[in-house]
Symmetry: C2
Subunit: 339 residues, 2 copies
DNA sequence: TTGAAAGCGCTAACAA
DNA sequence: TTGTTAGCGCTTTCAA
C-alpha cells in the first residue's frame, strides 16, 4: 500500500518482462506488436496496482520532465499574474506543469533562478528576460533549448518571442491626449534598458513629434527598479509637486507605476481628470473600476500567454528550430481619466 | 562544452573515485575526513568544469527534489498572487523552487493537479485545499508527506495549516457596520462548503446576533464557483436590484466578490457610500486606492506565506511530525465606503 | 512477439 | 582517508 509500484512489480505479477510492461504502459503496444491480450492484461494490472511512473527514472533516461519554467518579474503583478494563470492553464491541458520564479528585476536573482531552472531540466522556458540573464540565455539558445521570451526581448538573441507593439501603443496614447488638447504630457517610466520600456518611450517621443510638441526632460521621470512601493509613490509625488505647472497630463508606462501614481496623486489631492489627466500602459481592476476609470493601453494578456505556450510546446515536440517573432496589438480603452 | 559534466568526468580528471568527488561536492569533506588538499582540488575542478549535479539522478537516489508544490485557487487573484510571491521568495532563500497549479476551484482539476505534483515528487506541499482533493490529501497525511494547508482546512484532516481568524474578522466587520447604525446588512458570499467561507458566514451571523439584528435570507446571496466574471457581476447586480430597499450595507466575503460587487453597483449607478455602504473581506489595490476607498478586513498575506513556508521546511528537514495550527489575526481597515 | 541486459548519474554501505 | 560496488526505476538496443 505504502510502497511504490514499479514496472518490475507489474512485470512479476503479469509474468512478463519489464520491457513489455514499459512498452505497453507507454502506449506503444501496437507499434511493438505486443499481443492484444497481453496488452490488455498489463494495462489492467497497471490500473489496479495504481502504477505511477517514477519521473526521476524517466527523466534520467529520457531527459524529459514535462515541466516548463516560467520566469516573470513578479507573479503578484496584475499583468504577470494573469499571464501565469493562462500559461498554467494551457500547459496543464497539454500535460505540463509549470515551475515559476520571480526575477524581481534583480540581477543576482535573475541569473540564479535561470540556472536553477536549467539544472532542473525544464523541457522549455517562458521568460520575461532580464539583462543579467543574457549570458545564460545565449547558452540556452545556442543549445537549442526550447524558449520563448515574453514582454520584451534582446535583439542580439536569436530567440522566439511574443510581445506587443509597444511603440504604437504609446503613440496612440499620446495622440489621444494631444487630440484632446493636452500639450504638456508628462511621462513616468522606469529607469531601465529593457526593450518594452524603451519602446514605450519611443512611442511617446514619436507621439510628441507627430503633434508638434516639445520633448521636455523636466517632465519625464524615470524610476529605478527595486524600490519599495512606498518609495515609488514618494518619487512620483515629489516629481509631480515639483513640476505641476509644467504638466497637464501624465502617461504612466506600466501597471505598477500607474497604481503608485494614483496613490501619489491622491496624497497630494490632485483630482483626476480635473487637475490632471492620466493614462496608463496596462489595465487592471483599479483602472477599470476605480473612480474615475483610468484610460489605458491594454495588452492582450490571454493571447500573449496562449501564443507563448503554443510556440514553446511546438518547439519542444518537434524541436522545430524556426524562430517565431509575434507582435500583438494593444487596445486603447477610453475611460474617465482624461477629459 | 555542450556535453554535461558528470561526477565521473571530474573523478577521472582528479584521479580519484566518484565517491570522493560526490562527498566533496556535497560539502561533506570534513565529515568524511577527506584531505584538505584533495577537497580543494576537487572543488576547484568542479568549479572549472562547471559541474552541475543531475537532479534526476540525485532524485532517483535520494527522493529529494528541492521543489515545493503550491496549489492555489487562482494565481491571478490578488490574495493568492501575493501569497505565491512571498512563498517563492522564501522558498528561494532556502534553495527551493516552487511549482504552482491553480485549482480553479474545479473538482476535476483539483484532483488531477495534486496527483501530478505527487507524481513529480515534491518535497512538500502548500495547498489551498478543495473538497475534491480530500482523498489524495488523506493519503499525503497518512504517508507523512510534508504539507501545510492555507486559507482553509478540513477538520478530519490531521494536517498543519495556516489560516486567519475568519469568524472574528467577519464579526468585526458587522460590528463596525452595526455601530454606524446599519441594520440591514446584506451578505454576498460563495456557495461552497469551504471552511473559510463557512467561518466568514458564521462571523456574520454572530455579528447580527450581538447587535440584535435579524438574519434575513433574502439579503444573503451565495454565488457558485466557476462562473465567469461577467456572470458573477450579473448575479450581484440582480441580487441588489431585487432587494435594494431591504439592505443598507453589503458585506462581500472575498476579494473577487468585492471587485465584482463594485462593478455591479456601478452598473446600476449605486453610489458608495451614499446609496449603500460596502465592506469587504480581503484587501487589494482597487479597494485601497479606488474612490471611495473600500473598508476591508485585511489578511496578513506576508505572514501567512512566511509561516507556511517555515512550517513546511521544518517538516521537510526534520521530518517533524508535530502538526501545527496557526491562526493569524485580521486587521480592519476603515476607508470611505461606510459612512 | 517478447526478453535480457546495459546504462542514465548519483549516493551510501561496506571494504580496504 | 579513499575506493568498489550495488542499485534507485526506467528506456532502449539487441537478441531470441
Amino acid at each position: 500500500m505504502t510502497k511504490k509500484v514499479s514496472l518490475k512489480d507489474i512485470a512479476e505479477k503479469a509474468g512478463v518482462s519489464v520491457t513489455t510492461v514499459s512498452i505497453v504502459l507507454n502506449g506503444r503496444a501496437k507499434d511493438m506488436k505486443i499481443s492484444e491480450a497481453m496488452a490488455r492484461k498489463i494495462l489492467a494490472l497497471g490500473e489496479k496496482m495504481n502504477y505511477r511512473p517514477n519521473h526521476f527514472a524517466k527523466g534520467l533516461r529520457t531527459g524529459k520532465t514535462n515541466t516548463i519554467g516560467l520566469i516573470v518579474d513578479d507573479i503578484s503583478n496584475y499583468f504577470f499574474g494573469h499571464l501565469a494563470n493562462i500559461v498554467e492553464e494551457e500547459a496543464d491541458k497539454l500535460g505540463y506543469t509549470v515551475m515559476f520564479c520571480s526575477s524581481e528585476n534583480n540581477e543576482g536573482k535573475s541569473r540564479h533562478i535561470l540556472n536553477m531552472l536549467v539544472d532542473k531540466h525544464m523541457d522549455g522556458y517562458i521568460i520575461a528576460p532580464t539583462k543579467a540573464m543574457l549570458p545564460e540565455l545565449e547558452k540556452l539558445v545556442k543549445e537549442k533549448k526550447p524558449a520563448v521570451l515574453i514582454d520584451r526581448y534582446y535583439q542580439q538573441l536569436d530567440s522566439s518571442y511574443v510581445t506587443i507593439d509597444n511603440v504604437n501603443g504609446s503613440l496612440e496614447a499620446v495622440n489621444y491626449l494631444a487630440k484632446k488638447g493636452y500639450r504638456r504630457i508628462a511621462l513616468v517610466t522606469n529607469l531601465t534598458d529593457q526593450l518594452q520600456m524603451i519602446q514605450r518611450m519611443e512611442g511617446y517621443q514619436q507621439g510628441l513629434n507627430q503633434n508638434h510638441l516639445q520633448l521636455d526632460q523636466q517632465i519625464i521621470k524615470k524610476i529605478p527598479f527595486g524600490l519599495t512601493d512606498e518609495k515609488v509613490v514618494k518619487e512620483i509625488k515629489d516629481f509631480v509637486e515639483l513640476n505641476e505647472n509644467k504638466m497637464d497630463a501624465i502617461f504612466f508606462t506600466s501597471n505598477n507605476l500607474g497604481v503608485a501614481g494614483l496613490e501619489a496623486l491622491r496624497s497630494i489631492e490632485k483630482r483626476i481628470p480635473d487637475d490632471i489627466s492620466v493614462i496608463c500602459f496596462d489595465d487592471n481592476d483599479l483602472f477599470r473600476l476605480g473612480m474615475p476609470g483610468i484610460s489605458v493601453v491594454s495588452q492582450p494578456i490571454k493571447d500573449i500567454a496562449k501564443k507563448a505556450v503554443e510556440i514553446l510546446i511546438q518547439q519542444i515536440n518537434q524541436r522545430s528550430t524556426t524562430v517565431e517573432h509575434i507582435v500583438l496589438k494593444t487596445v486603447m480603452i477610453e475611460r474617465e481619466s482624461v477629459k
